[in-house]
């Protein structure tokens, strides 16, 4: 703080204070701050408006007609929890997300550990493939899997829940790999070596030392895969067969193209709440598992930076 006091010229009796303030190199960048807040408002307010309209009493999603729970549960046919199509979509969304999460995260974690330690050509090649699946636009993978399941594997995997799961897992596999590898880089190999110096067998060193150290990253991966899967739309849309296999995201998309009621807002809000609950649980887990290791700073920041 001392340099500010030295650097600021002594207040002159005359002179334009505004010009001096504008020229001062130590002033807060007010314009930039205003721009940042305008950006944040622009990015978040529309979503808040959409959430508010899920409680609209009328059919409109752009004109406010009073508060009600009509589109959540009060309407016996068209509300989120009573419309049979939306109800089955909720179940389908949750089913797909939970199964994808339970398969993709363990597979990806094992892969990350192996790639981190196994420096050979095939390992590098496999890792390249994994990262490539991360950057490939989803429409390419979605259409490719659609063509795979409608041609080569037509008799083995018909379109529907099974195909959707296989596609989602493929698309999500890279997230746990990237997150767990980042954590492995910060852990280093020393804990394992110490465990083995103390007499642990290689497998024990992994299951009893390395794996507990990886729990934060693994829980973060669970949350991210769950949240990303429940929001996924391109892959599941191409790989869905009947109306019954369309999850919430696909319903929202088709409703938004036709004539949506605030029930769509309620469906989207429901997805949002599910995602945030998952993230909240993951942050709590993260805090719990890193309780002895934090160097200061909030766990939220660390989690966000994952």
């Amino acid at each position: 703080m001392s340099e500010v006091a030295i650097g600021r010229p002594a207040p002159a009796p005359s002179g334009d204070r505004l010009t001096r303030w504008l020229k001062s190199p130590w002033r807060k960048p007010v314009g930039l701050a205003a721009f940042t807040w305008a950006y944040l408002a622009w990015s978040i307010l529309p979503v808040l408006v959409a959430i508010a309209f899920s409680f609209n009493a009328g059919r409109s999603r752009s004109t406010w007609q009073g508060f009600s729970f009509r589109w959540w549960w009060q309407d016996p046919t068209d509300s989120l929890f009573h419309d049979p199509a939306l109800r089955s979509a909720i179940t389908q969304s949750l089913k797909l997300s939970i199964v994808t999460m339970l398969i993709a995260v363990p597979l990806g974690t094992l892969f990350a550990i192996a790639i981190d330690r196994w420096h050979t050509k095939p390992a590098r090649f496999a890792n390249f493939g994994m990262l490539f699946s991360f950057v490939l636009p989803e429409i390419i993978l979605g259409v490719a899997l659609y063509l795979l399941f409608t041609n080569l594997l037509r008799s083995l995997v018909p379109l529907g829940t099974g195909a959707q799961l296989l596609g989602l897992i493929t698309f999500q596999l890279s997230y746990p790999v990237i997150i767990v590898r980042a954590r492995l880089l910060t852990i280093g190999g020393f804990y394992e070596e110490a465990a083995m110096d103390l007499g642990a067998r290689p497998r024990q060193a992994i299951t009893r030392v390395l794996l507990p150290l990886l729990y934060p990253a693994i829980f973060a991966s669970f949350a991210i895969v769950f949240a990303d899967t429940i929001d996924d739309f391109v892959t599941v849309n191409y790989l869905s067969s009947t109306l019954a296999t369309q999850p919430l995201s696909v319903k929202i998309y088709s409703a938004a193209r036709a004539s949506p009621t605030p029930a769509v807002n309620a469906a989207a809000t429901f997805m949002l709440i599910t995602t945030f609950v998952a993230i909240g649980i993951a942050i709590m887990m993260y805090r719990w598992f890193t309780r002895g290791q934090r160097s200061g700073g909030s766990s939220v920041t660390e989690f966000v930076q994952l």
Partner: protein, 328 residues
């Protein structure tokens, strides 16, 4: 760092010792004294096998469909899996629709390039300013800023676009606002295929992916470099263009690639916010894939997109690998 750390940190090890240890470790790993030879491959193989079947194989099927034919009666694609029987006729037809006299898909291609270029540029400028402010002046509120910046990640893309679709209705809040401030007395039909709407929607959808990498880049920047530049007599503009930009260039380019890649394949934004007048490359794929007898064309479109995006994808992978090595 003004405040001295109260905890006793171990003194940094001399670099010679560290490299020795690393060399030792590498030698041990190579000799395989700690783990059996089959150990790591067996952990990696389930995922590797998965990728081979559900990632590499589908891409091969795309090629087979693109160079195959379609059933003359039912219209289903007849993929050809043997490269020596491949026929390029469908692929040639697709190419002819992009270049030449009957190129009625060309507008979509050009539109996609222009839209993605403008949207990415806006993402870079806006993303840089916001990331710069949060990284350098965030202060105590940094966590709050970061949470707000990350929040859009967890809100479904569809919901965010749907929110704007509602706001931009003829009787929506945007038109109400413009009427109140006397900019537009009559409602503007934003959703009738206006390029502005589609471009801004793309920006809105993908900009969160831009801000975080740039934030990381600026956050790592050493403030003393800026001070040094100032001390050496550079004015703020010179400092910005000669220090800040070069230092964060890598992050900006990586961010630009990571936002533009999904934009190239985007079809849902235009389907919700635009019309056929603003249709993009992704819309071509989405339309042809569901049409009878168009399978080989859809395959060709996907193949062309993949080839076009190969260079930016490889660039991104290389730059992230470099960044990871730099951290190590």
């Amino acid at each position: 760092m003004a405040s001295a750390p109260t905890t006793t940190t171990p003194p940094a090890e001399p670099p010679v010792k560290q490299s020795k240890r690393a060399a030792k470790k590498a030698a041990r790993e190579e000799s395989g004294a700690w783990y059996p030879r089959w150990y790591w491959p067996s952990l990696a193989s389930p995922s590797a096998l998965w990728l081979a079947i559900f990632f590499i194989l589908p891409l091969y099927v795309v090629v087979s469909v693109a160079f195959g034919t379609s059933d003359p009666i039912f219209g289903a694609p007849l993929p050809v899996y043997e490269p020596w029987y491949w026929s390029g006729s469908s692929f040639q037809q697709v190419i002819k629709r992009f270049v030449g006299p009957a190129s009625f898909w060309q507008p979509s291609l050009i539109r996609t390039l222009v839209f993605v270029a403008i949207a990415s540029l806006i993402c870079v400028v806006v993303g840089f300013l916001v990331a710069y402010y949060v990284a350098r002046y965030g202060g105590k509120r940094k966590t709050l800023y970061l949470v707000l910046l990350v929040a859009p990640f967890w809100i479904s893309y569809l919901m965010r676009i749907f929110a704007w679709q509602s706001l931009l209705q003829p009787n929506g809040y945007v038109n109400d606002f413009l009427r109140i401030i006397h900019v537009a007395p009559t409602p503007i039909d934003w959703l009738s295929g206006k390029p502005v709407t589609v471009i801004l929607s793309l920006v809105y959808g993908y900009i969160p992916y831009m801000i975080l990498p740039i934030y990381g880049g600026i956050d790592r920047m050493n403030v003393s470099w800026l001070e040094a530049s100032k001390d050496l007599g550079a004015n703020p503009f010179r400092t910005f263009f000669r220090v800040t930009i070069p230092v964060s260039k890598q992050a900006i380019l990586a961010g630009a690639v990571i936002v533009s890649l999904p934009m190239f394949g985007d079809y849902y934004t235009n389907n919700l916010m635009g019309s056929s007048r603003t249709s993009m490359y992704g819309n071509l794929i989405d339309k042809t894939i569901t049409q009878q007898g168009q399978g080989p064309r859809a395959g060709s479109l996907v193949l062309i997109l993949m080839v076009l995006l190969l260079i930016p994808m490889l660039y991104y992978l290389r730059s992230t690998r470099r960044a990871a090595e730099g951290v190590e």
